[in-house]
Symmetry: C2
Subunit: 350 residues, 2 copies
């Protein structure tokens, strides 16, 4: 499926389904709306899936890639950590492994552009476009064709997993340097200035932060990304894992599956996906609000309210994993609670 075919299959949610879902929620034995955001989640997911089916098969797609911009000294960790963490993912020792096990989700670990050759690791899906992006401080991170290839890979990943049934998709990533790319994308697509949306990533000091901001400003000056052309922006200052996640999001929306968007990097992918087709937004839940300042700008731009706000800044899909029980709880309420009528409970005094 090409990107254009996929985009043409995504349509906004049926408002009649949404109204029926809300009416059911209002009939349950609780004051109307007293489960707050959980009720909104239930109505949205019921409308996406066409009913309150249990979320039996949950998959988090954790895409890894490297970033040429690390050559500018913008990160607290050496680039080799991307590869080392992919190995850690495949051995099950990283935070995403632990948190996905807790919620019974599968983690699909994908090399979509890690620098250097990874050994054949158990569970590793090899879809390498190339050995990381070029340094976007000097020119485009990738070609437009590479961006489209990475998106198609993401769409394909969801297609493959959907063969066994797929009820909930989480996004995740790993890539030393990728908060620099996500910040650059956020500047272009939200219009906020670089210092406002650029954070400390894995924990950089003041000097490195100033350099990071300067590198982003230079990248935008050198590459002139066109804000009206999301693929142009993605290719010029994005990353392969980000492009892959655009594909995961678009692919899940074509299958009408709810998407739990993780943190800042995943949020940047969501920005691109929604720019490609605004109807994508109906399929998104924001799992959390990251400690990275650019993430709040993204959520505000997309009009998404995060489910969690725990000052996470790890990525990998950890926020998506942590939010999964909330989505399951919302659906359980919808399916299992008694109505006022069934329980013989008195309704509100008129």
């Amino acid at each position: 499926m090409t990107l254009q075919e996929a985009l043409s299959r995504i349509h906004p949610l049926d408002s009649a389904l949404m109204r029926r879902a809300r009416a059911r929620l209002d009939s349950l034995t609780k004051p109307r709306g007293s489960l707050g955001r959980l009720e909104a989640v239930a109505a949205q997911v019921v409308a996406i899936h066409g009913g309150p089916r249990a979320l039996e098969r949950k998959v988090i797609f954790t895409l890894a890639a490297d970033h040429g911009v690390t050559g500018e000294g913008v990160s607290a960790y050496p680039k080799v950590v991307t590869r080392e963490m992919v190995e850690n993912f495949c051995r099950g020792g990283a935070a995403i492994n632990v948190l996905a096990r807790q919620v019974g989700a599968k983690v699909v670990i994908v090399d979509i552009g890690v620098d250097g050759d990874l050994p054949a690791l158990p569970g590793l899906v090899s879809r390498k476009v190339t050995h990381g992006t070029r340094n976007f401080a000097d020119g485009p991170a990738m070609t437009r064709e590479q961006a489209e290839q990475a998106i198609a890979i993401g769409i394909g990943l969801v297609d493959e997993e959907s063969h066994d049934g797929l009820d909930l998709v989480g996004t995740g990533e790993m890539g030393i340097g990728n908060t620099t790319a996500a910040s650059a994308l956020t500047v272009v697509l939200t219009g906020h200035p670089a210092p406002t949306v650029t954070g400390r990533g894995t924990g950089i000091d003041d000097t490195t932060w100033k350099r990071k901001v300067a590198v982003i400003e230079q990248a935008l000056a050198v590459n002139h990304p066109d804000a009206r052309d999301p693929l142009d922006v993605l290719a010029k200052v994005g990353g392969f894992e980000i492009a892959g996640l655009v594909g995961v999001i678009v692919g899940a929306a074509t299958h009408r599956i709810t998407i739990l968007v993780d943190g800042f990097i995943s949020g940047a992918a969501a920005l691109i996906a929604v720019a490609l087709n605004p109807a994508v937004k109906d399929f998104l839940l924001a799992s959390h609000c990251s400690a990275e300042p650019g993430h709040r700008a993204i959520l505000s731009h997309l009009g998404l309210a995060p489910l969690l706000d725990l000052e996470l800044r790890l990525g990998e899909g950890t926020g998506a994993a942590l939010a999964m029980p909330l989505v399951e709880a919302a659906l359980a309420v919808y399916r299992e609670m008694a109505t006022f009528k069934e329980a013989g409970v008195s309704e509100k005094t008129p």
Copy 2:
């Protein structure tokens, strides 16, 4: 165990244990602090329990009682709903039943002061002090002896459940009119004025809200609760379920068990418990921040940051149930993640 005996057994957490827990968290394969609040939860719970044991037995105590102040017309639902909802709890059809099942928690449903006689219902624990409080707009809600009796009941409930092992306690309640009591307690113990901490409860209109505020102000003028004497405040403008939850909190702290405090009403019980012994605070996690404005005042007064902020305003223990997976996730991270050394991942660039 009397209240005074219980209070004398509660001591602050061991700071050496806390430091060791933080050192372990810093050794794991993630940037330091990148799991944000989850790391603080892990360190606290490890320090409370003396180690990162799994939370195998989780119990939510949902205490129900009636409030004489409903005679003033302060609630959107008739008083009989307290009893009807207890029956709903015992049949498993309420939100707390659904959400507790989702997380594998037991719900202990307790009649500690419901008006009228409840039939013998499966799973109902009968510990009725009396048939609801007196209308505190005219005089004290209960006697000091009744308040002490209700607290002792709460302590006893935790004692009983701890015989089978108890790893996590959640608080919950049901009682038409109890946001009026919780608001009154909050005014006295936080010093905020009644209009600031009084909310819409189950969904009252403007006229009823103004009456509710006036009733609270009248109750405080009539009863003169002494802010330096938490039992006096509790007896004069509290409720039996609130007093019982003070006992649940105090009891769990004596057993060194982590307590997930639910919403506004449970928060008012936590205010009293911490006023009785400030060391209680070390055992508390705030599960969420309620849509009731008084709850934010309580959390701020106690210095607790909520794990969730989902505009919930249902009570029953629903917020505590929803937050349980986050506590379990925090402990799983602590136990199961690989360290930098184990995983051979490079550390931060010096």
